[in-house]
């Protein structure tokens, strides 16, 4: 490096020049990505190119998981079966009650000429792997733009809300978990209807109910459910349970820590709900366009 090489040892631009070029390019890309979201098409292209290799890497691991499922002992399956049957009975009762309430509700809404929120089809998906980025809490699911997923759709499991689809690639999609630092979800305390916004704390296990007055009526053990006022999450999905409240007179707000009820780290199967749309009319074309194979169809409702 102490002297320039002679012309016949041609080596292209100097390393420092190359480094400067690529550093500037990276910084440009990062700014475009973080501030303006202009890098998405390029990311999708690269992601699609690496998709076969990714599948190759995932294949043995998922095959192992499936094999393990296959060889799960019969006793466990039987006990699980009995448990599920019991649960089904319990749920059936609740479901019947719910059905009556829903029809009643629909009639009332019609009376009020309220805009009926249309819940579209939901899409069943499986978690392929947890995101490897230690700075965020994300999972990758095996359905993407090809299956009709759109960014912003809420994702739930049997227990409650897991998160929201934040980035859609053609064959995969990225779900930001409710525990992610950048994720906020409008919630309501089920007990008394108090509204608030729960943010992920970023540590991977808890959420925080911010901007609640120090004397807000929240108790340990309260269940937080979606309030539905954001137009993204349907109303009434369980989100988290309050585990700790710190009220300090020095601060105007209480520090309320909650733990998600959904198994954000355990479950493999999730349900991607259609994004709630508050536009008044559901035109015929968009309704037809959205119906594609691979979806779990809801039973037709009354009057459909």
């Amino acid at each position: 490096m102490e002297h320039a090489p002679p012309q016949f040892f041609h080596r292209g631009p100097a390393p420092v020049t190359r480094l400067t070029f690529f550093v500037l390019l990276s910084v440009l890309l990062m700014v475009l990505d973080a501030r303006f979201r202009y890098a998405e098409p390029m990311r999708q292209l690269v992601a699609l190119a690496v998709y076969p290799l990714q599948q190759l890497a995932i294949a043995p691991v998922s095959a192992l998981a499936h094999t393990r499922e296959f060889f799960s002992t019969q006793a466990r399956l039987r006990s699980e079966n009995a448990e599920l049957r019991g649960e089904k009975l319990k749920d059936a009762e609740a479901l019947l009650a719910l059905e009556t309430v829903r029809t009643e509700n629909e009639q009332l809404k019609r009376l009020l000429a309220a805009r009926e929120r249309l819940a579209g089809d939901s899409i069943f998906a499986e978690i392929v792997y947890a995101g490897r980025d230690p700075f965020s809490r994300k999972v990758i699911i095996d359905k993407g733009g090809q299956h009709g997923l759109v960014a912003g759709a809420p994702v739930i499991d049997a227990a409650g809300v897991i998160g929201q689809v934040t980035r859609v690639q053609p064959l995969l999609a990225e779900v930001t978990l409710v525990t992610d630092k950048d994720h906020a979800i409008p919630v309501q305390v089920v007990r008394n209807g108090l509204r608030g916004v729960a943010y992920g704390s970023g540590d991977g296990t808890t959420m925080e109910l911010r901007h609640m007055a120090a004397n807000a009526e929240v108790e340990k053990g309260d269940l937080l459910a979606t309030s539905g006022i954001d137009g993204v999450y349907p109303r009434g999905l369980p989100v988290a349970r309050v585990v700790r409240i710190e009220r300090d007179a020095a601060y105007a707000f209480a520090k309320i820590v909650a733990q998600p009820v959904a198994g954000t780290d355990q479950h493999r199967q999730v349900l991607v709900l259609a994004r709630m749309d508050d536009t008044p009319a559901w035109s015929e074309e968009s309704g037809r366009g959205a119906r594609k194979s691979g979806r779990v169809k809801r039973p037709p409702r009354k009057g459909e």
């Binding site: 550093v23 990276s26 440009l28 990505d33 690269v46």
Partner: protein
């Protein structure tokens, strides 16, 4: 001292570009495995990039490292350009230090590699914190430590095709 290092002991066969490509692809495949928890999993791609930048600085360069970083960003869903920046800087540093690193015995080479890998992770950390992230804890750097421990293994494996036996033996399989 110089004689102890494996690269200097005897002349090596010229490296095959196909083998370099295959090793990088294999390392990328390793990184794409569905790791549930990132802590402690070494970034093998960074290690292999460092290896080729140290052993073949004329063939492996900043551009290739940058492109591989972009692939990692797209696959991981991280900030687009984060890995690319870190890998480009890593390749630059490894290229600049390749003569110095190869003069040392293997375990001291590994110490150099540890510093390089940790510095590239530090760069990523700085970028993410500038973009509004939180510090994920000291365990973030454990991967670099594991990767540095793997440096002698990587050297043994990746240099194996270039090694010529001391006495040519026609019946030997490799």
């Amino acid at each position: 001292m110089a004689l102890e290092s494996p690269g200097q002991q005897y002349l090596l066969l010229p490296v095959k570009a196909g083998f370099m490509f295959a090793s990088l692809l294999a390392a990328l495949g390793f990184n794409l495995l569905p790791w549930q928890d990132v802590r402690g999993v070494p970034d093998l791609l960074a290690l292999v990039i460092t290896f080729w930048c140290v052993h073949q600085p004329r063939r492996m360069g900043i551009g290739v490292a940058w492109a591989l970083g972009l692939v990692m960003d797209a696959a991981d869903g991280t900030l687009f350009g984060q890995h690319a920046l870190a890998y480009a800087a890593l390749a630059y540093a490894a290229q600049g230090l390749h003569r110095r690193i190869l003069r040392f015995p293997l375990w001291q080479q590994a110490l150099h590699v540890l510093v390089l890998l940790a510095a590239s992770q530090l760069l990523m950390l700085a970028v993410r914190i500038a973009a509004g992230g939180t510090y994920p804890g000291a365990s973030f750097f454990v991967g670099s430590l594991v990767a540095a421990v793997l440096w002698p293994v990587a050297t043994a494996l990746l240099l194996a095709p270039q090694r010529r036996p001391a006495e040519i033996d026609e019946t030997r399989p490799i």
